[in-house]
Point group: C2
Chain length 333, copies 2
DNA sequence: CACAGGACTGCAATCGATTGCAAACTCAAC
DNA sequence: GTTGAGTTTGCAATCGATTGCAGTCCTGTG
């Protein structure tokens, strides 16, 4: 139905080759011919069929984006960033949601890999070996996950946690609880590391209360155990967990931040809307999506680019809202 | 890099034609040949290049999905539904976010149209004429928007509003405020219609407080005007607005639901997490995405299918939480 | 005036897959 | 032992675009 290069050629009175050149290598065709071709293309609303071009050039102008769960507000932000940056370079984005299923993820990735120039895998749940093997077959950029030898855009979890701890210590907290995310989560592990290091530096105590689902319900589940630690502040795996925790604390009549301070991570849109508004470490999610595309495109242009080894590290930023306050004196409760 | 049909043919010792047939019309090839081909394909991890197939068959196995803003929690749900249903039929999904820009939307849609078999336009911001014209060029399914002659999946706004009003009337409310969405919003207009009709039926008063951005901030902005109407209950354009309104009410010390009841629409994930938890009309967002794909696929198979004219209407469901309560007696405040 | 050189443009091959058509083969029946 | 029907398979054309190569035309110089 849509106009082909032949239609344009006919209308402009030239050969298809000339149309192709007029449109993609304007310098080599005569000015008046070029103008005629461009007018014809314009008139017909012609745009080259990417699939056909892809057959010849091996570049389809398409990338794939795989996320674990769009219902988790973290991911739409990343997707939006990918979207925006991809559009700016006129590349289309295939989106796939794996529903947190690592097995489905691998299958999806393999299927997608054949239809795209490159893949962006956001917080992939698959095993390290599988990711490496996929990366050997296609150009892959990881987001929020680090695997030896695979280019990635990650967040500075350690630095973020350091900021959170510094903030809490400044408020007088000396015993801080950590509500971890899923056992297998790469970012949870790294946040824990950063937290422990920072706590040690400041000479304060860090109590880990275990692993919970990275959801509102996970936060509800974690709340009581966090309280039981006797800590005066809690850092949670992410904002969703923090908000769930806040809900449970409210239900139990525990005042935030008076009796307990709460810090999340991510800064999802919901965080400023919670009551009290959540203090959190903002992760530049959209930026991560943009940079992932940037990195992928660079890799595609120059596969041997050294960005392969380094990748990109994005810094977090502490956003202080109302869920953190001066530590309650443990002596007079 | 990936294996082509020729590679498989060579390995299986047959011609490419036979490979093609063995894989997509198994009945016509000899059983032992078929087995040999399938083994070879398996061994090479072969999957046909969809782009190449698309050139011949005119069907690429790809659909496009356009949403106004992924940051609005309504849309990721729809996207998830589209995703899931599309994957079940082995079709890939191009996602595009227009950033609420109607002009960009039209451009994007036109560009996408050439690369896909069909398009799903979710809550499109473009004008009616533009949508009609796009629908003439490609197969299009609308979600959450109705345009004469274009197949669509919509929500029963009228019915949903009827439920909300019935609920409020049962609680004794007699004067109800409506916080509308954007002036040009199709769903806002229809919700208003349903509200007015239901209010008339029940003999209660409906006060429209104007049009606001469909966001948290929009809700904050609307709150004071809603209060000033003297209504004992407010229905808002969507949940995000309701949650913003709740925040402002809390800041002003107006108790919900004691002094004012609040009802949202959508039932986004955030709604059960708000304080108080939001009473709302649940819209089956994910289901809408699934049905849109279903409808699109049906239309693609049989362009003259009568689903073109009818489309699908999805019912809303009132979810009663804590933001609605018995009306305050206006006599003794 | 002939010829070298550059600027344009068209021909034809190519990418990976599908499909109409015809060739090759099998098998049974006469 | 032919013939004819039915199966199975391969050849070759095709989709839309790109690109190496070669041909045409024009211009300037000797």
């Amino acid at each position: 139905m849509p106009a082909t290069i032949r239609d344009v050629a006919r209308l402009a009175g030239v050969s298809p080759s000339t149309v192709s050149r007029a449109l993609s290598m304007p310098a080599v065709v005569n000015a008046v011919t070029r103008a005629r071709v461009q007018a014809a293309a314009e008139q017909l609303g012609y745009a080259p069929n990417r699939a056909a071009r892809g057959l010849i050039t091996g570049r389809t102008g398409t990338i794939g984006l795989v996320v674990p769960d769009l219902a988790n507000p973290f991911f739409p932000s990343v997707v939006k960033g990918v979207q925006a940056r991809a559009r700016a370079s006129d590349v289309a984005v295939f989106l796939a949601d794996t529903d947190e299923d690592a097995t489905a993820e691998v299958g999806l990735v393999r299927a997608l890999a054949k239809q795209v120039d490159g893949l962006i895998l956001c917080s992939p749940r698959a095993g390290q070996d599988e990711l490496v093997s996929v990366a050997q077959e296609t150009t892959v950029v990881l987001v929020n996950r680090l695997v030896e030898g695979v280019p990635a855009v990650t967040f500075d979890n350690e630095g973020g946690m350091r900021q959170a701890i510094a903030h809490l210590v400044a408020l007088g907290h000396r015993r801080i609880a950590w509500v971890g995310g899923p056992q297998t989560s790469w970012s949870s592990a790294h946040r824990s590391l950063g937290l422990n290091a920072a706590a040690a530096e400041h000479g304060v105590e860090l109590v880990e209360v275990g692993h919970f689902a990275p959801t509102y319900d996970g936060g509800m589940a974690a709340a009581d155990q966090a309280v039981a630690t006797g800590a005066t502040a809690v850092v949670t795996y992410n904002d969703l967990v923090a908000i769930g925790l806040l809900a449970r604390l409210h239900a139990r009549g525990i005042a935030v931040p008076e009796a307990l301070s709460v810090v999340g991570i991510d800064d999802i849109a919901m965080s400023r809307m919670s009551r009290p508004a959540l203090t959190t470490v903002r992760l530049p999610k959209q930026k991560a999506g943009e940079m992932a595309v940037e990195l992928l495109l660079a890799l595609l242009d120059d596969p041997d680019s050294d960005s392969r080894t380094q990748g990109q590290l994005l810094l977090g930023e502490l956003i202080v809202r109302d869920s953190t306050g001066v530590a309650q004196d443990p002596a007079r409760p």
